[in-house]
Amino acid sequence: MSKPNDLVQGTLDLLLLKILALEPLHGWAISLRLRSISGDVLQVSEGSLYPALHKLEQEGWIQAEWKQTENNRRAKFYSVTRLGRKQLETETANWQRLSTAITQVVQISEA
């Protein structure tokens, strides 16, 4: 239950890095963004979001900062570090290689 079993392993990291690379966000905003970008195709449990964020933070890929939100509440904002951007590049490249390969395999089996 706790694992995002509806996502390919490791994909959540990629998604989070990608989202945060655009702009720093707090957890709630990230969960909204996840929902809106991927629609119903990718189901990310809100429960697994925070452990995933903390893991990325401990890896040094994102860093957190407590800031005021627009309606003046304190929230923990995450942003991607330099290390995280490198990681994002590698993971994107990996993902592209993998998806190309899989697409090809799928096409071969159909022919």
Binding site: G27, Y50, Q58, G60, K76
Partner: protein
Amino acid sequence: MRMEHWWYTLPLRLKSILLRRRMERELEEELQFHLEHKIEEGLAEGLSPAEARYRALRAMDGLEQRKEEMRDVRRVQWLTDFLDDLWYAMRSLRRTPGLTAFVVMTIALGIGMTATPFSMLDALVFRPYPVANPSEIMTLMSSSRDNRYDAFSFPEYMELRAHTESYHGVAASLPLSAVGFSAKADTTPVVRGGMLVSGNYFRVLGVEPQLGRGFRDDEDAVPGRDAVVVLAPGFWKREFASDPNVVGRVVRLNGAEFTVIGVAPESFPGMLIFSRPDFYVPLAMAKLFSTDPRKSFFVDRDDRELTVRARLKRGVTQAQAQHELDLLARGFEREYPKFNRDRGAVVRTQFELRTREDDVNWKFSVIFTVLALGVLLVACTNAAGLLLSRARTRTREIAVRLAMGAGRFRLIRLLLTETLVIALLGGLGGVGVGYVGIELLQRFEIPADLPVTVPFRMDLRVLTASLVLSVLCALFCGLAPALQSTRMDLSAGLKTADVDMPGRRRLWGRNALVVAQVAMSLMLLAASFLMVRGFRSSLGEGIGFSKDHLLMVKFDPRLIQYSEAQTQQFYRLLTERLRSTAGVLSTGLTQNPPLGLDDFDKLSFVPDGFEMPKDRDSFQATMDTVDASYFQTMGIGILRGRGFAESDSAEAPRVAIVNEHFARHYWPNADAVGKHFRLDGRTGPAVRIVGIAQTVKYSETFEKAMDFVYLPVAQHAVPRMVLMVKTSGDPMQLVQPVKDAVRGLDPNMPMIETRTYEDLYRYASVDGPQVAINLVGTFGAVGLLLAMAGLYGLVAYNVTRRTREIGIRMAIGANQFDVLRLMMGKGLMLVGLGTVIGLALGFAVERLLNSMLFNAGGVDVLAYLMVVPVMLLVTTFAAYVPARSATRIAPTRALRYE
């Protein structure tokens, strides 16, 4: 990349450890923020507040589990858990301060008593050479039937150096025990110790001078040409006040000028354990430091004085190097049968060299370390027993924790943390105890002008060993109680404080503990008793000569460049003058007084008319060079024949006096007086035996009788002699008259090590063994104390455990004697079993001791007759005291117990 990673993550890790509360708050706040938004969203969709809240929480899939997951990703959980456990352990230990203190003390004693002998063992055996890659350094040794640890001669060394391929260089060294040193030309020389080394010595060892340079290869090529010296770091500090401009200065060694070219680094105090050279000079200067004018160092193939060390090439095994050396040694044998017959050569590692079988020092430290480990084991079993009883009183607490879902592993960790705290406190105390012990060893005063270093010290290695030991102790003491107390029947554990009534296995464990303790301390006591008796009996045999009223002064006329004739003249005039001095009864000259600190020279000889075994050319005996009045001065009796006389001059036929053991050994059925032996093999000069001296102790008070030969100083000139002066009064009163006599002959002559002979004797033959006796005695006493405490604790614990049973028994009519028998019977049976095992162990240790140290055969029955009853008495007492308290239990109270 890695650096950058840590740049981001290190502050987080530190924060997780140091700011745990804040981390928790932030975690809470972050999730709360999310939940509130989720609830607001629900409310906006028209849900009731309760519904909205419920949905928000559901979306998290269990808030608390999420939090734990988030804590886990911090990767410091194990540490924070450990800190929690530590905190808890401290608190719970504070609740039982008496028990904690006792266990800590027990372990401290055990570890401290191990640290002291271990520091000795480390210094004598394990501490690596202070050089680069010390494990590559091999020592090459010549090996003959009489001496398996012989050195090499200079010609042999040169051939080894030229014809071996296994090494990155072969270096040689020769310690110089007394060199006349003066920093300036006009000062009276003082005696210092140095080292003759080959030109490649520092390079082979990988030692870089901290100042100036080391020797060049060409500096040991031409005998006597290059008078250069490298100073040792300590000497540079003491004599030259760490003068940075010392390189280029000229100093005098044995009267000759030497130029300082460098200073060895601080990290290199020398290769020897017990002494540190003050300076290094090239091997080519050997002639200047020669102790025996008859020897020709650079030519004689049998003048074996050089320690040869070589650095093994990488990829070459010791076996390969040995094979190569075997071939060379066989070559030597073929080419020089006169000097090398039956003589091999051996490659030895540092460990092999330091554990040589003819050295007692390391054997002593092995024995002490083993004894100490025995004490530690007893201490640990004691501690385990006490912790076991402590764990029992906490049965209910542990049952509650288990019932609430604590993991067994987690709980074991918690309990082990407690033991670890105890053990580390004990380890700390142990380091203190060990420190005191080592201090005491170091305070050992050595009466020599040349500093003899006591290498035992509390260093990082000993500290680490102590720490590791205490952690092992924790595991040993803590694991059994922890495993047992977490393996319980929960429902029973919750109901009562005592759950293990029948448990056969657990009782077996406790019984074994008692047996082991009794056996171990009996063995320790027997061993210490045997050693004490061994030493005492060897001291009691007597030394054979009189050691009182003697003043001794050492002279070395070479230090001021005396010729052989001048030297003889000096000694003759000095003894003549002293004989007419008031208070002097007699004087004697000897190369080396008996039971002193130096080794005697060896003499190889062939007795006339003695059937030599086929496989050997000559025999060896220990020898001394003395003057005519030496025997009278030392009170060594001449049993047959005569002593030396003035007529035994250099021109007269050569004579010798042998001891009784020697005479019996070679002429068992005839009078040795008048017989001859030949020096240096069959063709050497013949020497007539003119007298038989009484056999005395020569090297050690506990040595076996050995062959000994005296040669007259007139026929066997030795420059360095010790003058013994016998007086009727206080020997120290003679110091000034002797000084005056010496000044009258030559004001520049240094007087070395002026002291009474009894001082030397006390140091070399009494204090040393006494320290050993005290040490072993302490082991025995501490062992007995520990065993007593352990037994008392265990019986007392049994009494507490069976309080209710005793109550019932007394209620239905058992009298006090029955109860006493019930409580003690089992204990005494265990003591009996332990005694039997302990006796077996004791016999084994006795054989070991006899084979290693004392050459006494058979079993020392008296030792056991004294130890066993004491042991039984003490253990019975230890069992009786708590058992007696059981008889005082009031049945009504006992039944109400719990």
